[in-house]
């Protein structure tokens, strides 16, 4: 090593120490990054349905069963004559929620979303990795118990027979899904049957998309909501304080005849019973489903507040749930282009879309005193050793206070039972039980028949069931969705008195 001259270049050796330290820091960061994936995220990665581990475990062993709230087996693995397990689906009424698993056609529904739990790749006991390799049976299959009640689910499917549509029933105080029906549906047994599976699945795929039986309309169908969306505007109005129970719009009675002119676009009310010169308040506007009142209210609430409170209820993003869901939207995802779109959205037209699950959550929020529980259909996981992992009810969002929720409950009760409301939604009344609800007939433009909607809950004071019913192109809701909802709520109150 040459001795550095005064003012010459610096010695190299000390710099190398710093290079070494920098390398230690870099490698330390990489080690931390690996620990992130291999410890913190390991569980989430391992239960991802796309993980080939799932497909690998599939070939190896038995999957757990899926049972309903009372233990009725909905899906199970049956040992065939050749020593291999075959999936059996005795209750096609619960499709497409349950889904299917087929080596040829992949998987869907809960069979896909809960593959890791059913296979035991994710463990009820929680030891997901550390010592598993020392066990002789590395995976312990778990049964998935649902909150769904097969009796109510069957009743919902009977109601939907011959229609395209969906019904979601939910326990408002817990967020437990009681029924989640979509029609038309399919028979998973025929998909997994080796002999007929190919032709059956090909026929399912060959259907035009609007008649798809594989699509779960309850969670993935995006429909124009029409008047049921007024409850979202009402929540936004009360929540933001821009609207109160006593808000009236002086011009509204006059505009019932001539229409309400927004930027040159005329909002009209064609159909509600004459309320004369009376300026409607919130309860009255819900009872007669007054488009003009809600157009005014929407403009007063404003785009920002409407979107903000809509987002609180779940709009704008896919709702976190046990199976994939589609996002509902108030503005088509691109904001309100002008006041005309905002005014139209406020009563459920414009660019609004909603899934039946989303609208059921709106009803459940009002039913539960303004608190939205996180919806779930999987109640617990049970492994062969009897370990139970329960999904406890969880508050998702506190949206309104109890007083505000009571105003909306009263409004929805008037919509079903009030002297003017009962003309539209009286069919949803559960005999002998105070019933609340809101009907909707979503205009689709052109010649197509409107979608029929109903959201509601019963009993009105201490609700045990909240519901959303959608009938595609069902025409006036009074004829389709409304009486179905009444019938199903009555069924549930009869089953679970």
């Amino acid at each position: 090593m040459t001795t550095p001259l005064h003012g010459g270049p610096p010695r190299i050796a000390p710099a190398l120490l710093r290079v070494g330290l920098a390398l230690v820091v870099i490698y330390g960061a990489i080690g931390a990054g690996l620990a992130w994936w291999q410890v913190v995220e390991a569980e989430r990665l391992t239960v991802d349905p796309g993980n080939p581990l799932i497909a690998g475990a599939e070939q190896g062993g038995r999957r757990g069963s899926i049972v309903d709230a009372r233990g009725v087996v909905l899906v199970e693995s049956v040992l065939g004559g050749d020593g291999t397990y075959r999936r059996s689906y005795p209750h096609p009424e619960a499709e497409p929620l349950l889904g299917y698993i087929s080596p040829r056609f992949g998987s869907a529904g809960l069979e896909r979303a809960y593959a890791a739990q059913l296979l035991g790749v994710a463990d009820a006991t929680g030891d997901t990795g550390l010592l598993r390799k020392f066990r002789s049976e590395p995976f312990m299959a778990q049964d998935v118990r649902l909150s769904l009640d097969l009796r109510l689910q069957k009743a919902a499917m009977v109601l939907l027979r011959g229609h395209r549509g969906a019904i979601v029933a939910i326990e408002p105080s817990t967020g437990r899904i009681l029924a989640l029906a979509s029609s038309p549906s399919f028979d998973a047994d025929r998909i997994v049957e080796p002999g007929t599976g190919d032709t059956y699945f090909a026929a399912l795929l060959a259907r035009p998309s609007e008649e798809s039986a594989l699509l779960d309309r309850a969670t993935l169908g995006q429909y124009t909501p029409g008047s049921v969306l007024k409850m979202v505007t009402a929540v936004a109005g009360l929540g933001s304080g821009r609207v109160t129970a006593h808000t009236t719009f002086p011009d509204q009675p006059a505009e019932e005849d001539g229409g309400f002119l927004v930027n040159g676009y005329r909002v009209i009310d064609g159909h509600h019973a004459a309320t004369g010169a009376r300026a409607l308040d919130l309860v009255g506007a819900v009872e007669v489903s007054c488009n003009i009142w809600f157009a005014h209210a929407g403009l007063d609430v404003g785009a920002d507040q409407l979107l903000r409170w809509g987002a609180q209820l779940g709009f704008g993003d896919a709702i976190p749930f046990d199976v994939p869901t589609a996002a509902s939207s108030l503005d088509g995802g691109d904001g309100f282009v002008d006041d005309v779109e905002l005014a139209n959205a406020a009563y459920g037209q414009g660019q609004t879309t909603a899934t039946p699950l989303q609208m059921a959550l709106v009803a459940a929020t009002i039913a539960n005193g303004g608190t939205l529980m996180r919806p779930h259909v999987v109640d617990s996981l049970v492994d062969a050793a009897g370990h139970v992992t329960a999904m406890t009810p969880e508050v998702w969002r506190r949206i309104l206070d109890a007083g505000q929720a009571r105003v909306l409950e009263e409004a929805m009760r008037q919509a079903v039972e009030g002297p003017l409301g009962r003309h539209f939604a009286g069919g949803a009344k559960v005999p002998g039980v105070p019933t609340a609800g809101k009907s909707g007939t979503a205009q689709l433009g052109g010649d197509s028949e409107p979608h029929g909607w109903f959201i509601g809950f019963a009993p009105a004071e201490r609700p045990r069931i909240a519901i959303a019913v959608l009938i595609e192109h069902g025409g006036s809701s009074s004829a389709s969705a409304v009486p179905m909802a009444g019938s199903l709520m009555a069924t549930w109150l009869g089953l679970a008195p």
Partner: protein, 482 residues
């Protein structure tokens, strides 16, 4: 260090040395052999479903190869570092285990009548790599030919690069492979060594002359032109590699190694800052102009958004890491693939670390990272003990080529930086990569040899006269370039 005139009589022959025991190396190699034997038994037992050692032939051949390298260093009396060889042997041995464990038909190559498959081929490359390392460590008598002909090296490197630009074949969207008859290789692996030689020689030469002379550009004070020009040239070459070869990994590696060497040579933080600024500017330009760069960044930000498309490989790699957990599934118990296809595309090359993380867990992954840090420590130690600036910079650069490349690919596998396809040194499958890293290992061992020196004029042999002729030719080339 041939010092005293009488020294020539104490050595057995010109350039020869007395055998010297290398006890530490022997001990460490023994430990490596024990670890690998356990690994082999674990792998064979897991695959067979009962306790067995399987067919240990490849492992035994590997032990013989490493043992031969150790004996050669011992026989010719090398005093050089005793830890680098065991560290590299551990990595190569792990590589052999992993290649034995992966689906053998991943790579099949016919050599004459022989039809070799993944593990057998890898054993061949390991043999070549160890042979190169040993030959250089034992045979390199002086480094004159490295330091004197730096422009020739640089020119050779650029020609190599140009050949790849013109005739290269694409692998995975990057133009990397040069094919010559039955032989195919990835020249960028060799190019990185050539580049380090050039940069070390260049910086060492100009260091003494240029310390502290700034280039002034208006109000800006920039590094001396002698540093600024190569900095800009290197930046341009790195950009060109990305644009033409689409080889982000090599570009990143070359630039990073160069920048660290520049800083080590000048030790002026301004140079480092300027280099990093240029890097950021280059990265932004590439991101804006080139879709293939943008795609890599998009995959990096959210591979799960395209889990069935462009992000497939990265997502599958992360799944493997997740499956491994802390202790791993055990060798042979991970997921080779479902339905015959490897569960991660390119698992034997770019994604070998994720396979390692799956089967050996976080514990094994950290241990392997630790081995690279050991290599870094030994390499930098050789550099700081080196006899002059050129050797110090060369040893530093060679060390960085190994450990920064490992850092780049592991960080890419773990989604800490955008994925760039480079190999994991000594572990990934591939002849070019193993050969290049074998050369690096050999050079480091040679540089660690205290007696490495200039040739003694009085003991010119015929062979050395031949060497002189070659030097003369080199001189002519050198003059033509400069």
């Amino acid at each position: 260090m041939s010092t005293a005139p009488g020294a020539a009589t104490t050595v057995r022959s010109a350039g020869g040395r007395r055998p010297r025991l290398r006890r530490r190396e022997a001990t460490l190699l023994g430990a490596v052999a024990v670890a690998l034997t356990f690994g082999w038994i674990s792998l064979a037992s897991s695959q067979a479903g009962r306790a067995t050692i399987g067919d240990p032939t490849p492992l035994v051949i590997f032990f013989v190869l490493v043992g031969a390298a150790h004996l050669a260093l011992t026989w010719w009396g090398r005093r050089t570092d005793q830890i680098l060889l065991p560290a590299a042997a551990l990595l190569m041995g792990l590589s052999l285990l992993l290649m034995t464990r992966l689906p053998q038909d991943t790579v099949v190559q016919a050599i004459g009548p022989l039809r070799l498959r993944l593990a057998e081929l890898q054993l061949v490359w390991i043999a070549l790599s160890l042979a190169a390392a040993t030959l250089i460590a034992v045979g390199l008598r002086n480094d004159i030919w490295l330091r004197t002909y730096k422009y020739s090296w640089a020119a050779g490197g650029i020609v190599l690069l140009a050949l790849v630009f013109l005739f290269g074949e694409e692998t995975n969207g990057a133009r990397l492979t040069l094919r010559l008859g039955p032989l195919a290789g990835q020249p960028s692996e060799l190019l990185k060594i050539v580049l380090v030689v050039f940069v070390a020689a260049y910086l060492a030469d100009d260091r003494a002359l240029l310390a502290g002379r700034d280039t002034r550009l208006g109000p800006l004070r920039l590094p001396p032109l002698a540093y600024l020009l190569p900095l800009l040239a290197m930046w341009g070459i790195a950009l060109a590699i990305v644009v033409v070869q689409r080889d982000l990994g090599a570009a990143l590696l070359f630039y990073a190694v160069f920048l660290v060497l520049l800083w080590v040579a000048t030790q002026r933080h301004r140079d480092l800052v300027l280099g990093l600024l240029l890097f950021v500017v280059g990265a932004v330009i590439l991101d804006v102009l080139f879709p293939h760069v943008r795609e890599r960044v998009a995959i990096w930000l959210d591979p799960f958004a395209s889990a069935q498309g462009t992000g497939f490989q990265v997502v599958r790699g992360l799944f493997a890491l997740g499956r491994g957990g802390v202790l791993g599934t055990g060798l042979g118990a991970g997921l080779p693939g479902v339905g015959g296809a490897p569960s991660i595309p390119a698992v034997h090359t770019d994604f070998i670390f994720d396979a390692l993380g799956e089967e050996l867990g976080l514990a094994g992954a950290l241990a392997v990272l630790g081995v690279y840090l050991v290599i870094a420590e030994r390499g930098l130690r050789i550099a700081s003990a080196a006899g002059d600036d050129f050797r110090a910079l060369l040893a530093t650069g060679l060390t960085l080529v190994v450990v920064l490349q490992a850092a780049i690919i592991v960080a890419g596998n773990a989604k800490l930086i955008p994925l760039t396809g480079v190999t994991l040194p000594f572990v990934s499958y591939g002849g070019s990569s193993l050969l290049a890293n074998g050369i690096v290992l050999g050079l480091l061992l040679a540089l660690g040899e205290g007696r490495l020196g200039a040739p003694r004029a009085e003991t010119l042999t015929r062979r050395e006269r031949l060497g002189d002729a070659a030097h003369a030719l080199g001189d002519r080339v050198e003059r033509a370039i400069t």
